[in-house]
């Protein structure tokens, strides 16, 4: 089996060390309120430039996973979700911390995160090659529709505003048009500046659009970002294992829910954890008081959001359509490292993919001792890091990250301009994530469209070229579903949560 052949490579000292480091950094960044998993991955992206492709992916994957779990620290101990995925962790985590069970809550969150993470990654291993077989049938028209599908789902990534999300997708597409056109050779939107001839570089743009606005926001408030946590009674790992195993159905159900929701592009960890929490709350047994410190609430939320890490990579790796903003950053890293996304990924780059998956599995298992034993120490470092030190350090990292990819001074200017623009746009409710995804998908859409037009014209059947086969038709329907489904899921999750909250009252 391919997986087992390549899995051995994941056990190299370098990969294990990088996985360990990625987890620590991820937990640290995720625990800082205001710094999301997307930020964590984007700011760590430059660190991967000199790594081997598979090592780089393992590092980013573990940063993503660690930050998703790290969000639970602040959520449980100070009622402030470190990441959006941890919002529902606060519902029961903080009440547990208030009664002195913060350590137990953190241990439960760790165990649930590990279980959810493993199920998500196994689902990737199981489902992604099957999806790749279908994707092998794609021609240029199908790739065009696929990119359009991506454009429609990026709109759904915008929190609550579809129209603004679509506009931002178009802005991203515009950015992808800058430079020498690959289809016609035209110099487009370069304004006779040599800095723009090569186009907008993906990494500086990603750092600018996703990280720099966070830095601007961080500096707006005074003082430390976190206060000292409530007192806990240690990690209570054994007790936590008992609590989780007594709620194994909840754990499994929430992990599967997280896996399924993670595969739907744009739905993401925040939606998954809310849906899983609502479902756990709805099926609560007698005596389980959700919202008042019930361990099942933490299990549902944390297992579901960590399950999306692995399953969200399925559309990213196979179709080149990132499931979540952190997946977009990982996609950017793959492009930088020359890993060609798409259906042939499992045959042409099988060694990288399978070693990466094995590395992620190892890292997930590693999260158990790291979270249970080192978690509280990492959190202490988080508390001791003042904003006065954090802000200039992150600002420095954004500049270095933008520069280091091509050793190009102009990339820092591009990063800065896009970062400031993204912050201003965000003030008007325009999200940055769709711009990044538009930038990534632009070349796929343009090449697919241009080739389809040329082939269609040569055949004398342009309409048939775009709508003449089943895959194209399915993709068109998927585009419609991508617009309709995520808001519907969010609406249902909110409705279920409302009902569950009323029942708990």
């Amino acid at each position: 089996m391919d997986f087992l052949t390549h899995a051995i490579d994941a056990f190299s000292v370098t990969n294990l060390a990088v996985a360990f480091l990625g987890l620590i950094i991820g937990i640290f960044l995720g625990a800082l309120p205001g710094l999301s998993s997307t930020f964590a991955c984007a700011v760590m992206l430059p660190v991967t430039f000199t790594m081997a492709p598979v090592t780089a992916l393992i590092f980013l994957g573990t940063v993503y996973m660690g930050s998703t779990y790290g969000g639970s620290f602040a959520a449980i101990l100070v009622n402030t979700p470190g990441t959006p995925q941890s919002i529902s962790t606060t519902f029961d985590g903080y009440p547990m911390a208030q009664r002195g069970d913060g350590g137990l809550a953190l241990s439960i969150a760790c165990i649930a995160s590990v279980a959810g993470g493993i199920i998500g990654i196994v689902s990737f291993l199981w489902l992604a090659p099957e999806l790749a077989k279908i994707a092998l049938l794609f021609g240029p028209a199908e790739y065009f529709w696929l990119a359009l599908f991506g454009l429609t789902i990026i709109a759904s990534l915008s929190e609550g505003n579809l129209i603004k999300g679509i506009i931002c997708g178009f802005l991203g597409l515009f950015l992808s048009q800058v430079g020498i056109s690959v289809v016609s050779g035209d110099s487009r939107f370069t304004y006779e500046t040599t800095a723009l001839v090569g186009g907008i570089p993906i990494i500086p743009a990603t750092i600018g659009l996703l990280c720099f606005p966070v830095v601007i926001d961080l500096i707006g408030d005074a003082g430390h970002h976190l206060v000292a946590p409530l007192k806990t009674r240690g990690s209570e790992a054994v007790n936590a294992f008992r609590k989780v195993s007594a709620r194994s159905v909840n754990l499994l159900r929430s992990s599967v829910l997280g896996t399924v929701i993670g595969i739907i592009p744009a739905a993401g960890g925040a939606v998954a954890s809310l849906v899983a929490y609502a479902e756990a709350s709805r099926s609560a047994k007698k005596g389980e008081n959700y919202g008042k410190g019930e361990p099942g609430g933490i299990i549902a939320s944390e297992s579901a959001n960590n399950a999306t890490v692995g399953s969200g990579l399925i559309p990213t790796f196979v179709l080149g359509i990132p499931g979540t903003p952190p997946d977009a950053v990982i996609l950017g890293a793959m492009l930088v490292h020359g890993v060609q996304i798409g259906p042939k990924l499992f045959t042409d780059f099988g060694n990288i993919v399978y070693t990466f998956v094995a590395g992620m599995l190892i890292a997930t298992v590693l999260m158990l001792p790291v979270g249970l034993l080192l978690g509280k120490y990492i959190y202490k470092v988080v508390i001791l890091t003042p904003k006065t030190f954090l802000v200039p350090t992150v600002a420095l990292m954004t500049l270095i990250g933008a520069f280091a990819i091509q050793n190009n001074y102009h990339d820092m200017i591009i990063m800065l301009v896009l970062g400031i623009s993204a912050w201003i746009l965000a003030r008007f409710g325009f999200p940055a994530a769709p711009i990044v995804l538009g930038l990534l998908l632009g070349p796929i859409a343009e090449q697919g469209f241009a080739q389809s037009v040329m082939i269609g014209n040569a055949k004398g059947d342009l309409f048939g070229m775009f709508f003449g086969n089943t895959i194209s038709i399915v993709l068109v329907f998927m585009i419609i579903a991508a617009v309709v489904l995520p808001p519907l899921i969010r609406y249902r999750a909110a409705a279920r949560f409302k009902i569950a909250s009323r029942a708990a009252e």
Binding site: F49, T50, G160, N161, I163, K164, I166, I167, F170, L171, L173, F174, Q177, S181, V183, S184, G185, D186, R188, F189, V215, I216, D217, I219, G220, D221, A222, G223, K387, T388, F389, V391, P392, T393, A395, L396, M397, L399, I400, F403, A404, N407, Y409, M412, I413, L416, I420, W423, R427, F428, G429, F430, G442, A445, E446, F449, A450, V453, M454
Partner: protein, 154 residues
């Protein structure tokens, strides 16, 4: 934000996007047939969805959603943006180490704090900042072959 200012912000931003879309369409005329197709698609897309944003904002504002004003002060944000721009501009002249130490110190100074600075706090921040900058410089130049700007003046 009040509903009136949200409406103003949505309609205003929609109008700006529409203008930008028009500019993209106008510019696309200069390109070759195949090379113009995508910019045209982008331009018309921007115009169409910006128009939709304006219409929806006026007709059913709840569908567009409220715009949350930024929390905290604008002054440090503006100062940070200006400092970052100056930092980038200074890099080719002052070099990475000097410009970064100065910028690090200035950014540290503009981060709002509840308590006043103590000598110990200032010193620890300065030492920590210099250590971070030197660590990055050493790792990038000595191990990763990244030629950070050396500067012309020093």
């Amino acid at each position: 934000m009040t509903s009136k200012s949200t409406l103003f912000a949505n309609v205003g931003s929609g109008a700006v996007m529409m203008l930008f879309g028009t500019y993209v369409v106008f510019e696309a005329q200069k390109f070759d047939g195949v090379g113009a197709s995508m910019p045209l698609f982008v331009g018309f897309g921007l115009i169409a969805f910006s128009a939709l944003l304006i219409v929806v904002s006026v007709v059913k504002a709840s569908l567009v959603g409220a715009i949350a004003p930024p929390t905290g002060s604008m002054k440090p944000r503006l100062a940070l943006t200006v400092l970052m721009a100056l930092w980038v501009l200074a890099l080719p002249y002052a070099g990475f180490i000097l410009s970064s130490i100065v910028a690090f110190g200035l950014i540290t100074a503009i981060v709002p704090r509840h308590e006043s600075w103590s000598v110990k706090g200032l010193l620890s921040h300065f030492v920590g900042g210099v250590a971070v900058i030197l660590a990055f410089w050493y790792v990038l130049t000595a191990h990763l072959n990244v030629p950070l700007p050396a500067g012309q003046l020093f």
